[in-house]
């Protein structure tokens, strides 16, 4: 159980970092990376709780939610266009 507790803490911390990164321009890239790692931890805890029959801690749930929000908001700034090659039209404005 301790490994899940550590992962829950890591997930929460990474979620907070990703939310902070939203406000600092290019650091959104760091935010995306943090949110992805935190999200993987959060999902691991959720699935383990389902399979092993324990209730995930509030910290784990908070981490999962913060990472989802962090990934969504960082991605808004980070992803310019997933549909074409070489779109740099927004770069001048950022």
């Amino acid at each position: 159980m301790e490994q899940y507790s550590n992962k829950a803490t890591a997930s929460l911390v990474l979620g907070i970092i990703s939310l902070v990164c939203i406000w600092f321009g290019y650091s959104a890239l760091v935010g995306v990376v943090c949110a992805i790692i935190g999200l993987v931890f959060g999902i691991q805890i959720r699935k383990a709780s389902q399979e092993e029959g324990f209730t995930p801690s509030g910290m784990a749930t908070a981490g999962l939610v913060l990472n989802i929000i962090g990934l969504s908001l960082c991605a808004v700034a980070f992803i310019a266009c997933v549909a074409c090659v070489g779109c740099i039209s927004t770069a001048a404005y950022l």
Partner: protein, 256 residues
């Protein structure tokens, strides 16, 4: 052309907003489509999240590969391009498939059923994303002066002052039509994987044709664009799904 919008003191890329709306709409559709195979909603959500993570990584990695020569010649703009610049849809698609497959592999779930429920959501998210392209000014069409021609203002990314074919909106329109069609096929289909195959074939064919009406600078292989070559692979993969070949191979994999 509105590549950015202003909310309070912040400038937010319009594409990002529409990407977020599309993803949200896709997750809502997943709640409906997950009922088809009685899959837990939580698993469908996590599958989607893994697919998004894989998609983001795949889109950027393929972009990096396609643009590598320009990054080497202009290293000073490489980081800006990488953080704010483009990504490649097919890279996202391949990365998304691998990400989703990884989730089902780790937790021993039936991957093909999850792909079936995911494709209508993906089509809807793409449809919104293409509207984002339209506002962004990227993925613009060839010069055209007929019905629905788009005139971008002076100073925008696409050529201004001439009519352009609305290639982003045609693709968006196609995908908005494709989404309910895929949901209908999913509800009626008795073969896992058929909906995925239908999506891959129909989107691949449309994208292959639509590429002829695009004139934005992008990579090419021989006389076809990179996306057209990848479209041919996607169509082939879709046909394999329709003829149940991946399903059989996956069945052997599950048994072993």
């Amino acid at each position: 052309m509105y590549p950015i919008i202003h909310i309070l003191n912040y400038t937010i890329p319009t594409f990002g907003i529409l990407f977020l709306i599309g993803t949200g709409a896709g997750f809502l559709v997943a709640i409906l489509t997950a009922k088809k195979y009685d899959l837990p909603t939580m698993d469908a959500m996590f599958f989607g999240l893994f697919a998004i993570i894989g998609g983001i990584l795949g889109a950027k990695i393929l972009y990096l590969l396609v643009e590598l020569p320009s990054f080497i010649t202009n290293p000073e703009t490489a980081l800006i391009k990488l953080t704010t610049g483009g990504a490649v849809f097919y890279g996202g698609l391949i990365g998304g498939i691998l990400g989703g497959f990884l989730y089902t592999h780790i937790y021993h779930l039936h991957a093909i059923k999850y792909f079936d429920i995911a494709v209508p959501c993906l089509a809807l998210a793409q449809a919104f994303g293409r509207i984002g392209c339209f506002f962004n000014g990227c993925c613009y069409g060839i010069p055209y002066e007929g019905f629905g021609a788009v005139y971008y203002p002076v100073g925008s990314y696409p050529p201004s002052g001439i009519g352009l074919f609305p290639s982003q909106l045609t693709e968006s329109f196609f995908l908005f039509i494709l989404t309910p069609v895929l949901i209908f096929i999913l509800s009626k289909s008795k073969t896992p994987g058929f909906t995925t195959g239908f999506y891959l074939v129909s989107y691949g064919i449309f994208r292959f044709i639509n590429e002829f009406f695009r004139s934005d600078p992008r990579g090419s292989i021989l006389f076809l664009s990179t996306s057209q070559v990848l479209s041919l692979f996607v169509i082939t993969l879709g046909l394999l799904f329709i003829f149940k070949i991946p399903q059989r191979l996956y069945g052997y994999h599950l048994k072993s």
